[in-house]
């Protein structure tokens, strides 16, 4: 049993807003859904499967299904943090293959800018989280838990701040072509390492943007996809993984992409070297570097050398990444970037990325993400997508 070629992504929509004080979170979900269905050439009445995660308001899929007045026979609210929506595409493909649904809708939305929390503030203590009695006093935020990984990676492999900075530099080269991007100015390595230090060794420009917004995807059976007018994006393989503190056997230099990546490549029957374009979740620069190693684009520890000197810049380097500007420069709606990773991979496979960053003959792409907190507990999801 495989999901390979059992489903296609036929609709993708990134909400253009980056600041939405006058919209509700449910509204952003619904506007994103409407955009993706219009992109697919389908209507709300066609949707019989719905996927959302922890950013959905109220009681998740029940609240949103009611708000949008959907008539569903399959619901899934798997939450892997920001990686959820990458996993949702695979879950949708599996549900479609099993006949549980025919047209699956995936939505994400949120307003961290308008609601005044940025993801860099200490997370509220959740009384019944089993780790809280042991960790809450130390104020594990977001940036400091990623900084712990970067610090250890530097110690273990000699990775430098300048190498990490190249990831932001590459994203900025792409974002200048995206009129919706929050940060459109090209930055240099010196700009990144000269920006204020937030949590050693991560600087302000090692971090993603904080944005309001949303996105949505529509997945359906290949036979239905062929009747639609849009270029078809095939779901070829997927993998998931998770990693925590392993009972105290902590290793901060490895992410759960070490499991999600190989599973996705194996199901698709391809290798990292075959990938023409990669969407790599970029909550922080270190997130990208560790995933590239764990996915097998380079050896463990060689990520710093791999990303340096513009190797991730479209038209210049070996592995064009995040050609929309990514979370680092474009958009990170709801502090969860997974759906924008899939959306830009769809654009690339359709040949609809900005001409300045479109990868020629892009017939095989990857979307991969890390959700949760890399330095304590996180999930990973990887998708291999192809063009029909």
């Amino acid at each position: 049993m495989t999901i390979k070629d059992r489903a296609c992504i036929v609709g993708a929509y990134e909400h253009p807003t980056r600041r939405a004080p006058d919209r509700s979170v449910a509204q952003l979900h619904a506007e994103s859904a409407a955009g993706a269905l219009a992109d697919a050439g389908l209507t709300k009445a066609d949707v019989d499967g719905y996927f959302c995660a922890g950013d959905a308001p109220g009681l998740g899929p029940l609240a949103m299904a009611d708000y949008m007045n959907l008539r569903l026979r399959h619901l899934d609210s798997t939450d892997l943090g920001g990686a959820s929506y990458i996993a949702h595409v695979a879950h949708a493909a599996a549900a479609i293959a099993l006949g549980r649904c025919t047209v699956a809708l995936i939505t994400l939305a949120g307003r961290p800018r308008s609601e005044g929390h940025s993801g860099t503030a200490a997370r509220p203590v959740i009384g019944n989280a089993p780790d809280s009695p042991w960790e809450a006093p130390f104020g594990p935020t977001t940036v400091n838990l990623y900084a712990l990984c970067a610090k250890r990676h530097m110690h273990a492999f000699g990775t430098t701040s300048e190498q990490l900075a190249w990831i932001k530099v590459a994203a900025s080269h792409h974002a200048r072509h995206n009129p919706d991007a929050m940060l459109r100015d090209v930055v240099t390595v010196a700009d990144v390492v000269g920006s204020p230090m937030l949590a050693d060794p991560l600087h302000r420009l090692d971090c993603c943007v904080v944005s309001d917004g949303g996105g949505a995807l529509v997945v359906t059976r290949p036979e239905i996809a062929r009747d639609l007018k849009r270029p078809r994006v095939r779901v070829l393989g997927a993998g998931e993984g998770h990693k925590g503190q392993d009972g105290g056997a902590v290793d901060l230099t490895v992410s759960a992409a070490r499991w999600s990546g190989p599973a996705a490549f194996a199901e698709a029957g391809v290798a990292p070297a075959d990938i023409k374009y990669a969407s790599v979740y970029d909550s922080f620069t270190i997130t990208v570097l560790m995933q590239l190693e764990d996915l097998g684009f380079c050896e463990k520890g060689a990520g710093g050398r791999f990303v340096a000197d513009g190797n991730l810049i479209a038209g210049h380097g070996r592995l064009p990444f995040n050609t929309d500007g990514g979370g680092l420069c474009n958009n990170h709606p709801a502090n969860r970037g997974g759906i924008t990773k899939v959306i830009e991979a769809v654009r690339q496979l359709r040949g609809e990325a900005h001409p300045a960053v479109q990868v020629p003959n892009c017939d095989l792409a990857l979307a991969t993400g890390i959700g949760g907190l890399l330095g304590s507990r996180h999930g990973a999801a990887t998708l291999v997508l192809g063009r029909e």
Binding site: D131, S132, P133, W134, A136, P137, P140, A147, K151, G248
Partner: protein, 130 residues
């Protein structure tokens, strides 16, 4: 360091004996009675084999596995992972130290700091090598 009180650790039936011992200055960890491995954070069931676990007093000695300094805070606060002499690596904060003089591998020793309501919190401070 820091000047502000530590946020309270939320109470849990699984952490209550640790807190009680810490009030007497003893640092406890939990070890499996079946497979013999120590783990962190402490749990009723062994995270390696699901065997039963029991408290034991640990040395409180360890080395810095990784750390970071939150530069935006005054004074800057640290968060760290420390690998205990008994094996497990624990999330903590490094106190009574110059943040700019810290290094991975540096020997540290447990020290209890009081949270806002007086609950002891297991932090670590540098200790001389050897």
């Amino acid at each position: 360091m820091p000047d502000r009180p530590w946020p309270n650790p939320p109470p849990s039936p699984e952490s209550a004996p640790f807190v009680e011992a810490a009030r007497q200055g003893r640092f406890l960890i939990r070890r499996c009675t079946a497979c013999g491995r120590a783990h962190w954070y402490p749990r009723a069931l062994c995270p390696f084999c699901f065997g039963e676990t029991a408290w034991e007093e640990a040395s409180g000695a360890g080395t810095i596995y990784s750390y970071t300094v939150l530069r935006r805070e005054t004074p800057p606060r640290t968060i760290a992972y420390v690998t205990l002499a008994e094996g497990p690596t624990v999330m903590t904060s490094l106190v009574a130290c110059d943040p700019d003089a810290l290094a991975i591998g540096q020997p540290v020793q447990v020290v209890f700091e009081a949270s806002e309501d007086g609950t002891p919190v297991a932090c670590f401070r540098p200790r001389p090598a050897g």
